[in-house]
Point group: C2
Chain length 316, copies 2
Amino acid sequence: MERRSWTVVGVGGVGGYYGSRLALAGFDVHWVARNDVEHLRRHGLVVTSPKGDVHLTGLAVSGPDDPLPDTDVVVVATKTTANPEVVAWLADRLAGRACTLVVLQNGFDVERPFAEALAGPAPDVEVVGGMSFICSARTGPGVIAHVDYERVTVGAFVPGGVGEAAVAAVVDDLVAADVPTEALTDLVEGRWRKLVWNIPFNGLSVVLNATTAEMVTDPEARALVRSLMLEVIAASVGTGHAVEEAFIDTMFHSTERMVPYAPSMKLDYEARRELELDAIYAAPLRAASAAGVDMARTTALYEQLAFLDRRNRAGG
Amino acid sequence: MERRSWTVVGVGGVGGYYGSRLALAGFDVHWVARNDVEHLRRHGLVVTSPKGDVHLTGLAVSGPDDPLPDTDVVVVATKTTANPEVVAWLADRLAGRACTLVVLQNGFDVERPFAEALAGPAPDVEVVGGMSFICSARTGPGVIAHVDYERVTVGAFVPGGVGEAAVAAVVDDLVAADVPTEALTDLVEGRWRKLVWNIPFNGLSVVLNATTAEMVTDPEARALVRSLMLEVIAASVGTGHAVEEAFIDTMFHSTERMVPYAPSMKLDYEARRELELDAIYAAPLRAASAAGVDMARTTALYEQLAFLDRRNRAGG
């Protein structure tokens, strides 16, 4: 059976890792990078991983100004902070095409601007949402360090429609590439589920300058993490995509087993990059507020992060 | 008219400043210091201030192990973190005496342990609470830097009793020493009023590593400050000592006019001293909780501070 073709937009910790898995499994992978185009063409991509280090060469790489090849799947693995420009760029490049667009990003409702921008010019693009549960990061040009985990979940942005077949095909491809992947029947519930971890640990790792290990062992920090998780659960219930409360214990257990690792938001902060505050905090806060759910602690954490992010990028 | 005699326990930014004002006005002031006893005896006390710099010499200074002179007034101006030992020490030293004890400290319900410990051995000591609205700090042995403000409020710990006369006498003394001072009819309301400022600005100055000026000009930080203030107002209402909501604007205006200044908690954090978390956060949170008032943001801030304080003093 012939492997499908994939385009990976964004060669960071997420795109670089999953793209390399697909390429190793024989998929035709095209890469779109912003800064590392020449480096990737000349030197390829190095991925260090507990599954074995790999060095992929002879990559098909293009930049944002180049034409976009017509592949079966396009996966967006850029930071959500770039979404305004990525959405406009994809709406232009995918006009009139048919493919599956996987929005493999953190946060809440991140598929919506893609789906809305594509509906007119590219009605045959099926938008699906994806989440990666992975500890990995780009540590330099063409170098991805994969530390732990790699599971992916995928769900249709419009449930019950043709997107379900697109989801199944994406799952098949990733499973064929040895990536444990599951289809979600409720993408929004899956996004809330991921936020149960991301809302406390991403933000507090920045505000407290702390590792997840420090946070789960300190009594007050752990209490705060739990309170934030309970707010996310309440929001999931209030918006009709209920996550069960027992999931909190699951998250604590998996965090306790996690190798020491700085959440992506902490890495962004240290590199003075813009934090993914809209996708991970403001968007779920808006959804909760519309459902009448008060997320007081999450709001406070968001406001602290907005202050820190602004000062950090001002060079403060 | 003969001036009354005062003992100032704790020669820091608060005790050093007000004690010097009383001494300059001709009051007989005795000083109790912990670390600076020899320095104060030999070199005296330097207070720099917009009201004029002074250098007081020939001070009567004792240490914690020395006898305590019998004065009309004893003012406790130590950090609340030392209260367990200061309470026990005073209960021993004041046994059988009659005087006014002014607990001039930050926080909530800080007079209670003093009143309870003295009730048996020293029933004639009248406990009053005091609050100082002052920007000042000990910047070295025997050196106090007064930057701005100096107002004091005083109220009886047991309202309506003989304490009211003691309050009036303390006010008279401080006014005679050129310190603007007011008597409070409701000490608890006064303490809530002060917490409207202290709960947001003390804690956030540590967590965000920010000045009050940065916080009031950043939109999200300012929103968070306001939300925290609203929680304190709700707690004051819930406990029957209502502070009016318009007080928030008063606090913002006075903070905007304040000279750049690091709150005392920020200075404590930088010096790796224990933070006054029990008096400023845990005690008011207990009172609010007992009254059925949820202070979610304040709780979150307290938990962040507890984590940071523990790590900071561990040398982290």
